[in-house]
Structures are given as C-alpha cells and as structure tokens.
C-alpha cells in the first residue's frame, strides 16, 4: 500500500499541477482582463472555463516545426530540460503537515539548486533555435537568472538563521506564532522581487520581452514544445508561490488561531493571494531594461539582502527581540 502511494503520489501531484496550470492561465487572463476593463476569455465553455483546454488542444495538434538550421537534438531536448526541474522542485514542498513527498534536511537549498537547472534548458533552447532573437533571449535569461539567484538565496538566509535549519518543515513549524513576513520584512521584499525575476515575469520578463525580442528564447518553438516552456513557466509560478507561502506566510499555519479550517485550506488561500499578486504586478508594471536589471540585482538587492542578514544576526542578540529571531 505504501509503495503504491509512493509511486502514485507524484502522478497525482502532476495532475494537480497540470490542473493548476490550466486554471492559473485562465485566472491570469481573467484577472488581467478585469483590470483592463475587459472580461477575459468567455467563449469556450461556461465562463470561459475550457479556454485553456482548447488552447492546449490547439497546441497539441499544431504542426511541429523545427527550423532547418537548428541544432535538432538540443532543440528537442531543451523544453524537457526546462520543464523537468520545475516539477522536481515540488518534491520538497510541504503543502500541509501531512502532504509532502520527501522531507530532506536541505529542502530550501534543494529548491534553489534544482530550479537553476531550468536556465540551462532555456539557454540551450535559445541557442539551438539558431535565431538571433532567441539567442538574445536565452543569453538574457541566463544572465538574469544567475544574478537573481544570489539575492534570492541571500534573502532567505535571515530565516535560516532564525530557524537554524534549511528544512522547510522546520521553517513552517517555527512560524506558528509569527509569520516571517513581519520580522523579515526586508528579506521578504528582496525575496518577492527576486522571485518575480526568477519567474521571468513582468517587470522582469526580459528573456521573452515581446516588444523587443518578439518572444525571446521560444520564438521558434511551436506546438507541444512551446507548450512545455509555458508549462514550465506556470509550474514555477506554482512552486514559487508555494515557497513564498512556506517561507514567509506561515505555510499551513492558521492565522489568529483560526484552526477550524484545515491546514491545506489555509495554504491554498495564502498561495492564491501570492499568485494574484503576481498577476496584479504583471498588469501594472512596465518592463525594466536589461542593464538596469543587472544593476538592480547587484547594486541594490544584494547589499540589501546582506544588510538583512547582518541585521538579523544583530537582532538575534537583542534581549526582547530574540524571541522573534
């Protein structure tokens, strides 16, 4: 029975994630539509509920084109390299006190490490397409993701210092009284900015900047391979929102002792708030320029994250506050 669950669990998670992606895309289009005075998709199915399904079907039956001068092997390989890590990182995510696949000691680092593999996939995709826009998109993406990984990791060091563990379960347990968003507000701001950048979303959507690079690294991809890139992007939204919830919003812990709802429901609520925030930001912000992006990472976010670490270590020694840190 246990073995069966072991093999079946990931499949169920994959289905849940695919379902999430389907409706996250719809929700994104709806939310952005409302913000812009439109109603969003409403033609396929009641209230547009089947819109994404239709889109996916369209992508699946589309002709699979590979540019003549592309590096065919890498062209085919890169969507897989980009997508697989996106799903693999979910293994350590504690969705509630029971629902988690593995509980490894270095869960936080595991997330950061595995998610950075996607960069290679994107870079290879951009290069293998043999298209200049794709190449520029791929290069930008590599530069951006490597740069923003550093403030991303640094911003959570404060939490790691406070909890004394890299384990995501321990981090959630430590937030039973106070969520880390309050003592670690600086870390939170840095983390949110870096995570939006890691997700390649507006205002940091340079790798696929439509108005400049047409579509960036996936400009030559069509059909199913393109769908994989999109899937990777939205699975990362799932993963990153979960991580934000776990790290800063108390995971499955109920606020104010409202424990009448089960932990997973609280998790979903917090998670949805984070996802909505991502959509909201996307509908509002212009795109930052690529050199400003790098400068921002190295000259603003990194020093701020470092300052946050120092501040945390200092506050840890202050008698009154030591309770929070």
């Amino acid at each position: 029975m246990n073995t069966l669950l072991l093999y079946l669990g990931p499949v169920i998670l994959l289905l849940i994630v695919l379902g999430f992606v389907t409706y996250a895309i719809l929700a994104e289009r709806k939310v952005i539509g409302w913000i812009q005075g439109r109603i969003g998709p409403n033609q396929v199915g009641p209230w547009g509920l089947l819109q994404t399904v239709a889109d996916i079907v369209k992508l699946l039956i589309k002709e699979d084109t590979i540019p003549k001068n592309a590096d065919k092997t890498l062209f085919k390989l890169s969507p897989i390299i980009a997508f697989v890590p996106a799903f693999v990182v979910l293994a350590v995510m504690p969705f509630s006190s029971q629902i988690q696949f593995t509980d490894i000691g270095v869960g936080l680092l595991y997330y950061m490490a595995i998610s950075s593999i996607t960069t290679i996939g994107i870079l290879i995709g951009g290069w293998a397409s043999n298209n200049k826009y794709a190449l520029l998109g791929g290069m930008r993406s590599a530069a951006q993701m490597i740069s923003y990984e550093i403030p991303l990791v640094m911003s959570v060091v404060g939490i790691v210092l406070t909890v004394g563990s890299l384990n995501l379960n321990d981090i959630v347990e430590a937030q039973q009284k106070t969520w880390f968003i309050f003592p670690q507000i600086i870390g939170f701001v840095v983390f949110i900015i870096s995570s939006v950048s890691e997700l390649n979303r507006t205002p940091f959507d340079l790798p696929e900047a439509e108005s400049e690079l047409v579509a960036g690294y996936h400009v030559e991809y069509s059909g199913f391979r393109f769908a994989f890139f999109m899937l990777a992007e939205y699975v990362y939204i799932f993963a990153m929102s979960s991580l934000t919830t776990v790290l800063f919003l108390g995971g499955w812990n109920a606020p104010f002792g409202f424990t009448f709802l089960p932990g997973i429901v609280w998790f979903i609520i917090k998670f949805s708030v984070v996802v909505f925030f991502l959509y909201w930001v996307r509908a509002t912000m212009p795109r930052i320029r690529v050199d400003q992006l790098m400068q921002f990472a190295w000259k603003v976010l990194l020093p701020v994250a470092l300052a946050n670490i120092i501040l945390t270590t200092l506050l840890k020694e202050v008698p009154f506050l030591t309770h929070y840190y």
Partner: protein
C-alpha cells in the same frame, strides 16, 4: 517605490469598474445613423447622370444606361450598376453627389466573404440591401427635374 504602489492602486481600482467591451458577434453593434456602410441602390431613382462614377476616387463604380423604354420619356434608365467592393473605400462621395438619392449609404458593415467574387456587387444585390438605410444623404441636391412618370411595371 511610491509610484509603483500608486500604479498598483490604479489597476486594482479599475478591476472593479464596469467592463467596457461589447459582446459583439453575439449582440449586433448599433451604429449611428450617419455610419457609412455598404451602399443601397435604387434603380428607379437613378437618372444615369454618371456623377457617382466620376467622383469615385477609386473607380469602383461602373454603370451603363439605356434609352428609356417608354418613348414618351426623355433621358435614360439604368441598365447595369456595379460596385466593385474590393476597392471601394466607403468615402461617401458617391452618395454626396447623387442628386436623386438613388445611391445611399446603409449601416450594414459586416461584409466579409470567403471569395473575392462575392465582393462584386451588382444592382440587384445593392437594391436588396435595403435595411438600415441612412436617413440623410445628399447634402447638395441639384434642383433637377424629377424624372416624371417612368411607371414601375
């Protein structure tokens, strides 16, 4: 940072505002009276003065007239009247010069077809296109003698 927050506030406020899009293909769009859609042509009113052909900037109108079958009447009656809608730019000049309001604009604008041939509109088609006819058309009617008689039989 303040500017970004202000911007977020604006978008959030707009989210709850009423939506401005039309449910267009399901609900037909009402165009104002003066809207320039495809022409309606009434052969009975036409006096074959050829003004519309001359004024058309894209030469999309062609017509032929014949002698009035009624020997008592002077002038001509229209025989064929065609608008090549591929090149018509709906500039409204033909209805403006028509002294008898034989060619007038309608509000019909859904004109897409699957074949270019269908865009060649002859006088039967234009005569059948008699819905949503614009109420005011010729702005400078020339006082011409109304073609008397010409009983439609």
């Amino acid at each position: 940072m303040l500017g970004l927050i202000k911007g977020l506030n604006v978008t959030l406020k707009n989210m709850v505002k009423p939506k401005v899009t039309y449910n267009y293909p399901q609900e037909p769009l009402e165009m104002p009276d003066r809207f320039r859609g495809i022409q309606y042509f009434d052969p009975d009113k036409c006096i074959v003065c050829n003004q519309c052909v001359r004024v058309c900037p894209t030469d999309c109108i062609s017509l032929t007239g014949k002698k009035n079958p009624d020997p008592n009447q002077k002038g001509k009656v229209i025989e064929t009247y065609n608008i090549n809608f591929e090149i018509c730019i709906l500039c409204d000049l033909c209805t403006e010069v028509c002294p008898t309001e034989a060619v007038v604009m309608t509000n019909n604008f859904e004109l897409s077809t699957y074949s270019r041939d269908e865009l060649f509109k002859n006088s039967e088609w234009l005569f059948a296109n008699d819905e949503n006819i614009r109420s005011e058309n010729t702005l400078n009617p020339i006082p011409v003698k109304k073609p008397t008689g010409g009983t439609p039989s």
